[in-house]
């Protein structure tokens, strides 16, 4: 089922939930809404579910305009952050509830619940109540309940954020696998960009009620169209430095009082033609501590992450986050020299925060 959102706005009194959102989601696609809390992603999801009525704009499921269609008539399934399992019902009753409301016969209910439960691996738990289940099991029940009525669209509202890290990893894979198997159009709200990057076909990055970008994970990572997207996607986040880019003799240099880095032409020409200073962005993995580095700085903090160390290096009044192997135990206060991979560098207009490289 295609889901088409055109010029959607949702206001609560004077408070803007989401404004002028246009998004076309293909049949069978897995789309993630990514953004910090309060960015309007959950509001959009609840509006799609029919819990909220749009203030303006049009939502279509396939060709049908669903603006005023009740949630129960939209044929959607939804998984909530809190799972929202009915505590007074058994697992079986929970999963069967949507079928019961559709007046499916008892025998059919039984068959379909069994089938879904087996797919979800909770066939043994049908007689238990939600309170007796672990977080992961509750999660599966919630997913089973959403799937049992064979929805046209699946909605996920941060479903993994209440799970521990290990389980989150497993469920991530399972949900993605299941979605691809069933081919149900899915919309997945999350503030965790790793989840979005690993699971989604396309990611809608939102901020302050506005759509920032809507692209595949690779596009968002490699060619961020706004500074917000660049900063939000990727962990640890991209380093930003105010620089001015100068052209001299066909070569391009990004300069501050303590830095002077050469940029190749493809990346250096657009910012050089921009009037005044620009924001340069460079990801932590594109900076290395190297003996032949061009820039020297002092290590301010070392945060061991296990597989690698997250190191904050001060260069003049700038600060760069970078990742380094744990083998060379670096210490705070140590002087190091840095090598920048200037082929991956990004430039943004400081006023509009738009990328100077990609439009």
């Amino acid at each position: 089922m295609k889901v088409t959102i055109d010029n959607l706005s949702k206001k609560f009194g004077d408070v803007v939930g989401v404004e002028n959102l246009t998004l076309h989601i293909e049949d069978g696609e897995f789309v993630a809404f990514l953004g910090p809390s309060g960015c309007g992603k959950t509001t959009t999801l609840l509006t799609l579910a029919g819990i909220y009525k749009p203030t303006d704009g049009v939502i279509r499921f396939g060709e049908r305009i669903v603006n005023t269609v009740q949630p129960k008539d939209r044929n959607i399934g939804m998984v909530f952050q809190s799972y929202a399992l009915y505590p007074h019902m058994t697992v079986f009753q929970n999963i069967a509830y949507p079928l019961k409301l559709k007046k499916v016969s008892k025998a059919d209910q039984h068959d379909r619940v069994r089938q879904v439960a087996n797919v979800m691996g909770i066939g043994e738990l049908l007689d238990r109540r939600p309170g007796q289940l672990s977080g992961g099991q509750q999660q599966r029940v919630a997913l089973g309940r959403a799937l049992v009525k064979e929805p046209d669209v699946l909605l996920f509202d941060e479903p993994l954020s209440n799970l521990d890290a290990r389980l989150r990893l497993t469920m991530r894979g399972e949900i993605k696998h299941l979605q691809k198997d069933l081919g149900i159009t899915s919309i997945y709200v999350t503030h965790d960009q790793v989840e979005a990057m690993t699971m989604a076909d396309r990611i809608a990055v939102m901020s302050g009620g506005h759509l920032q970008a809507f692209d595949s994970p690779d596009e968002l990572y490699d060619r961020p169209k706004t500074q917000f997207v660049a900063g939000f996607v990727g962990n640890p986040p991209m380093n930003f430095v105010d620089v001015s880019v100068q052209a001299s003799n066909g070569r391009f240099f990004a300069e501050t009082e303590s830095l002077r880095l050469e940029v190749q032409k493809a990346r250096g020409a657009p910012p050089a033609s921009h009037d005044g200073p620009v924001v340069m962005g460079i990801r932590p993995e594109d900076i290395q501590i190297a003996s032949n580095g061009l820039v020297s700085g002092e290590i301010f903090v070392v945060e061991p992450l296990g597989r690698e160390d997250l190191i904050d290096v001060r260069v003049g009044r700038h600060s760069f986050l970078l990742l380094a192997d744990t083998e060379n135990r670096h210490q705070a206060g140590e002087r190091v020299s840095l090598a920048f991979d200037m082929e991956q560098v990004q430039f943004f207009d400081p006023e509009t925060e738009k990328s100077l490289l990609w439009q």
Binding site: L46, A49, G50, I51, Q70, P71, K72, R74, I76, G77, M78, F80, Q81, S82, A84, Y86, P87, H88, Y97, P98, L101, K102, R145, K149, D157
Partner: protein
């Protein structure tokens, strides 16, 4: 809690262990005692000199202020001793001799101060006492007049030394009874004494006079009481004090409920003492309970079954309707958007504060009118169980709606959203998903409504005629009106019978009761 107190105690010792000389301590003790005296004197003055007269001006015939004045004056010495002893208590653990010495000396000084006040003001032990102005002693034959005040009341009436008093009017008396009778007499009361002089039987009327003899010897019992009291205060463990105070404050209730229970199982009671037919202690019996089921108390015949069923019906109907109606309205106010929601919410709150009982008169007319409507009138009109229950439902509704709204507010929104997406209508969401989740709230409100219905007196009494629809409390009140105090053990049995469900709720649902009787307001404070 315990650890905190321990910390507190060490801190306190540190603060208090600044060295103070004995005179300094004594001065402080006296200062505290004096402050207590002044505070209570001012209180007594305010009660009897300001507040009392003010209400008297408005025509209120009350004795509350007199009682408060007397209580303040009665408490005055003891509060003063506590004030003094509180200084001594600092040394109870470290230096017991110093503590006792300090406490006793402050008490003696305060006692002297208070006694001096009594002496000057003719108060307390120095108050004028009713007297016949003669000295008496108990002998085999009767009360012998040992001495007589010249020109006093007894002499004026014609009594002589050597007379033996046997009776006041026709009541034979010994010295104890005589003094008791005299103690209760007022100035000028005539006492007609029978006495023997030699072989003669004589009668004379003596008029009671008030004498203030101010004998210092009368102070000894007071002083010993004061010192004993002080010793107790010095040694009393500090954490006992709140318990003693709490039990003291509760004692009337404890005594009262103890009486109901004792009375129902005994032949008769005088005060708290159960007695049998021969006025001996004991008299355990189940007859009082039997009389309930036999249906005859003090000649009043009745059948307890329909009365009990009426009580039960009122309470049950009320509980059911209150729960249903309150939870429906509470659900809408908590979970639905509609014009006027704000208005309904504020209106509910105003009704919550509004005293519905003031509407008893007009509701009478409403019920009369409802009674005239065919069919409905038989269910909820005047003089029907339905009508009575419905009025009480209405009275409890504002609280119920408010409470239910609060409980619905606490259920996560995702629960509701999930149900709607699963395909439930609002009604099914309310009935199948949310109601089962506010069971504690329903239980609390249900208990509240049931108790209200079960205990209802004024509404059934007002809106019913005859015993057709009278419930237990109404019936009990009829019994109380119809019986003399001697039959009260049977009446008490009916009272306790009515109390049984209440006690059951009390034992098993205290927490709910405590919460709900604050009017469902705890959460908002």
């Amino acid at each position: 809690m315990k650890a905190r107190d321990a910390v507190f105690d060490t801190l306190k010792v540190k603060v208090d262990e600044r060295p103070q000389s004995l005179p300094q301590d004594l001065a402080e003790a006296l200062r505290l005692g004096a402050i207590s005296i002044i505070v209570l004197l001012v209180a007594a003055f305010l009660f009897s000199g300001v507040v009392g007269p003010l209400f008297a001006l408005g025509g209120v015939e009350e004795t509350v202020m007199d009682v408060l004045t007397r209580l303040s004056l009665l408490a005055l010495p003891f509060v003063a001793y506590i004030g003094g002893a509180s200084v001594a208590r600092r040394y109870t653990r470290s230096d017991i001799a110093r503590a006792l010495g300090l406490a006793f000396s402050s008490t003696v000084l305060l006692f002297a101060l208070i006694s001096a006040g009594y002496y000057v003001l003719d108060y307390g032990v120095f108050a004028p006492r009713p007297s016949l102005q003669m000295t008496l002693s108990q002998t085999e034959a009767g009360i012998r007049v040992e001495a007589i005040v010249a020109g006093g009341a007894a002499e004026t009436a014609g009594l002589q030394v050597g007379d033996v008093i046997t009776a006041i009017r026709r009541d034979a008396v010994d010295l104890e009874a005589f003094n008791k009778r005299l103690g209760q007499a007022l100035e000028g009361d005539p006492l007609r004494l029978r006495f023997r002089r030699g072989d003669e039987e004589l009668q004379e009327t003596v008029r009671v006079v008030l004498v203030s003899d101010k004998q210092l010897g009368a102070l000894w019992p007071g002083l010993s009481l004061a010192l004993a009291f002080t010793a107790i205060i010095v040694f009393l463990p500090g954490h006992w004090a709140p318990y003693i105070a709490l039990v003291g404050l509760l004692s009337p209730l404890i005594v009262g409920y103890f009486w109901v229970i004792t009375a129902t199982f005994s032949f008769r009671t005088e005060g708290l003492v159960p007695l049998d037919g021969n006025d001996n202690f004991g008299g355990f019996t189940l007859k009082n309970w039997e009389s309930i089921f036999v249906g005859n108390i003090a000649g009043l015949e009745f059948n307890i079954v329909p009365i009990f069923m009426t009580s039960l019906a009122i309470a049950a109907v009320m509980t059911f309707v209150v729960l249903l109606v309150s939870s429906m309205a509470g659900y809408a106010l908590s979970r639905m958007h509609f014009p006027g929601r704000r208005f309904f919410l504020s209106f509910t709150l105003i009704l919550h504060g509004f005293p519905a009982i003031t509407l008893l008169i007009p509701i009478f007319f409403v019920l009369l009118r409802l009674g005239n409507i065919p069919i409905i009138g038989d269910l909820i009109g005047f003089n029907t169980i339905g009508g009575i229950a419905l009025v009480m439902v209405a009275f409890q509704l504002p609280l119920g709606v408010w409470l239910m709204k609060g409980f619905f507010d606490n259920i996560p929104w995702d629960m509701e959203r999930s149900a709607l997406i699963d395909g439930a209508s609002r009604w099914r969401t309310y009935w199948e998903i949310l109601l089962p989740q506010i069971r504690p709230g329903l239980l609390a409100l249900g208990i509240f409504a049931f108790i209200g219905g079960w205990n209802a007196y004024i509404i059934p009494a007002t809106y019913s005629i005859g015993s057709g629809v009278s419930n237990l409390p109404v019936f009990l009140e009829e019994l109380i009106d119809a019986t003399a105090p001697v039959d009260w053990n049977q009446v008490a049995a009916v009272g306790l019978f009515q109390l049984i469900p209440i006690f059951i709720f009390f034992i098993f649902a205290q927490e709910y009761l405590l919460n709900i009787y604050a009017g469902g307001t705890k959460g908002s404070s």
